[in-house]
């Protein structure tokens, strides 16, 4: 039971990271109608920026802030140079162009940081475990991830629902031409949204970096999970992304932890050992298929499309 609680918390933590990635993807798709495969590259860049800043300054917090700013700028520059001309092309061209960007960024990171992975070490006070329930100890850093991402999610909600910028973002998602016609600088709005998405992705990358290695291609597998999240949640819907991210995070983590043991009751130990991990990797895709059969537009289809 204690193990179960711990795994559930791990699932929530993965889900929150997925939400950060999925929110950026779904904002960019909802507003600019852009399929951005290179989103995972921004996640990777964020982690590399943080690793570098951490070495330079020796402070995790400064590294985090520096990486967020650098990624925000990198995202906005990228939008102006490479992404803006893609808006008037169709989705297939988006796939082709941003696939090219993935190749470019992976190679760029190899050129700048070299082929070996980096590590991002935590401040010592983050390395302890804390008692969350009687007898249940949980690494404090993972709790910090959950709380920090929750705070970011809340902040995002406030920005999108309660500020002028958020109003423009929502207006842009439902009718771009009209927002432009009303005298809003739609190009600048797009650049800001893309930069915001980049910063969210970088935040996820930095948060995940101390747990995993910072390496080339680290953004690719989690990007596909983020795709699954926005499909399940309904593309363009931030609320959907949040719910779906939690579902996917929980199923992936809990399945990985318990499916091999469950299978052992019905299969031989050997077969369970082989089948378990791949079955749990598959489980979220099966969930996605099942959801799409009943709701082809996801759980929370964005109202405007």
């Amino acid at each position: 039971m204690l193990y179960f609680i711990e795994q559930c918390l791990n699932g929530v933590q993965l889900g929150m990271l997925l939400f950060l990635l999925a929110a950026g993807l779904t904002l960019v798709f909802g507003i600019m109608d852009l399929v951005n495969l290179a989103h995972g590259s921004l996640y990777m860049l964020g982690a590399y920026f943080a690793a570098t800043f951490a070495v330079l300054t020796g402070s995790f917090v400064i590294a985090l802030i520096g990486a967020l700013l650098a990624s925000l700028i990198a995202g906005m520059v990228l939008e102006v140079i490479a992404i803006r001309p893609l808006y008037r092309r169709d989705h297939l061209d988006h796939v082709l162009g941003t696939f090219g960007l993935i190749l470019f960024f992976n190679e760029l990171v190899r050129l700048v940081w070299g082929p070996e992975g980096r590590t991002l070490s935590l401040p010592p006070e983050m390395l302890t475990a804390v008692q969350i329930l009687p007898g249940v100890y949980y690494p404090i850093y993972r709790l910090v991830i959950i709380l920090a991402t929750l705070a970011v999610a809340a902040g995002l909600y406030v920005v999108v629902m309660r500020t002028r910028l958020g109003m423009l973002i929502r207006a842009g998602a439902s009718n771009r031409e009209m927002v432009g016609a009303l005298g809003i600088n739609i190009k600048l709005l797009y650049t800001l949204v893309f930069g915001l998405g980049a910063a969210l992705a970088a935040f996820a990358g930095v948060m995940q970096a101390p747990i995993l290695t910072v390496q080339i291609g680290m953004g690719e597998n989690i990007l596909i999970l983020a795709f699954v999240v926005i499909i399940i949640g309904g593309i363009g819907s931030i609320r959907g992304a949040f719910v779906a991210a939690l579902i996917v995070g929980l199923i992936d983590t809990v399945g990985r932890a318990f499916l091999p043991d469950l299978l052992r009751h019905v299969l031989s130990t050997n077969a369970a050992q082989t089948l378990g991990p791949s079955l749990s990797s598959m489980s979220i895709y099966m969930l996605m298929a099942a959801i799409l059969v009943f709701r082809p537009e996801g759980l929370f289809p964005a109202a405007s499309r």
Partner: protein, 327 residues
């Protein structure tokens, strides 16, 4: 996707002498003569490289059927390469070496997978379709990693190529090359017959306006599913060839970037043109090979090239040869 009729996607008789037909003809002649060149110079590397080009061109041709003519952007096409390859590898490991069993199984397994994935995915459209095909391919990728008996993550070496009872010896590099070349030409012929048939007209019509096609009584989803299965089966055959070519299969064959490569080949060559995918496959693989000799960081150049193609070139290289530009 876009509802407007894209001029590149209207198949038209290509008998007229244009730079494009001249280029295609020259390319085919060169491809046909490669084994001779390799025989004269003793350079077998070129032959190996171009066998790979031909096999991936078959995959690209199959993807073009659904993507170029049917408007279905499948981001999971490498899964069929893997299924075809694993069919050959698994049967070989279990002691069934006959190509008469291996290849039909490869094609049938791919077709079956395409039927299931297609039936589920075709309920969605647009960007949902792109991502759901990607996710299904990723699922198969994890299945392959889970196949401990067949090498798991490390892959599986195939010690014996498919045996065709003395009919054709696949160990002979020249023969194998010509077999791939023949299958490529046969696939292109098959696609040309398909897209110019009533079936093809229905597929192309659905691409430009699905609602209208449904309104005049076409069961569009069934047509699209049929095209999806044909494309999958054909790509499964390419997978069987690829396994025989490399004598090795691994989950990497189905990594999602391989699906991206196939898309790149089709778009680079010119979407919805018969020989476009061949031009695209040759260009892409030669570019990759050439750049990696010229620099240690080939993708630093290749990536931006793809971006520029996506932004500026309409109709790929085939379109460029006809002097058509995007904008």
């Amino acid at each position: 996707m876009t509802a407007s009729l894209d001029p590149t996607l209207v198949a038209r008789p290509s008998l007229a002498f244009t730079p494009r037909t001249a280029f295609t003809a020259a390319l085919l002649v060169i491809l046909a003569l490669f084994p001779l060149y390799s025989l004269v110079t003793g350079n077998t590397f070129v032959l190996t490289l171009f066998t790979r080009v031909l096999i991936l061109a078959i995959g690209a041709v199959s993807l073009n059927l659904i993507m170029g003519y049917g408007g279905m952007v499948s981001f999971g096409h490498a899964a069929y390469l893997g299924i075809g390859g694993y069919a050959v590898g698994i049967l070989a490991k279990e002691g069934i070496g006959s190509g008469f069993v291996q290849w039909p199984v490869a094609v049938a397994a791919s077709a079956l997978y395409a039927l299931v994935v297609g039936a589920l995915s075709l309920r969605t459209r647009g960007v949902y379709f792109i991502m759901i095909t990607l996710a299904f391919a990723q699922m198969i990728y994890y299945v392959a990693i889970g196949l401990d008996r067949y090498g798991g993550d490390d892959g599986l070496t195939i010690y014996k190529r498919s045996d065709f009872a003395g009919l054709i010896d696949l160990n002979n590099k020249t023969l194998f090359y010509y077999l791939c070349f023949a299958i490529l030409l046969a696939s292109i012929y098959l696609i040309s017959r398909l897209v110019n048939s009533r079936f093809g007209l229905a597929i192309r019509g659905t691409r430009s306006n699905e609602r209208r096609m449904r309104a005049i009584g076409f069961p569009t989803v069934r047509y699209k599913l049929a095209a999806f299965v044909i494309a999958g089966a054909l790509c499964g055959l390419a997978g069987a060839l690829l396994a025989n070519h490399t004598n090795f299969i691994s989950p990497a064959l189905m990594h999602w970037t391989r699906s991206g490569d196939l898309i790149v080949m089709v778009v680079l060559g010119g979407l919805g043109s018969l020989f476009g995918p061949v031009i695209g496959a040759v260009t892409f693989l030669l570019l990759q090979e050439g750049l990696s000799r010229f620099t240690e960081y080939p993708d630093l150049i290749l990536g931006p090239i793809l971006l520029l193609v996506a932004i500026y070139v309409h109709g790929g290289i085939g379109g460029l040869l006809e002097g058509r530009r995007g904008g």
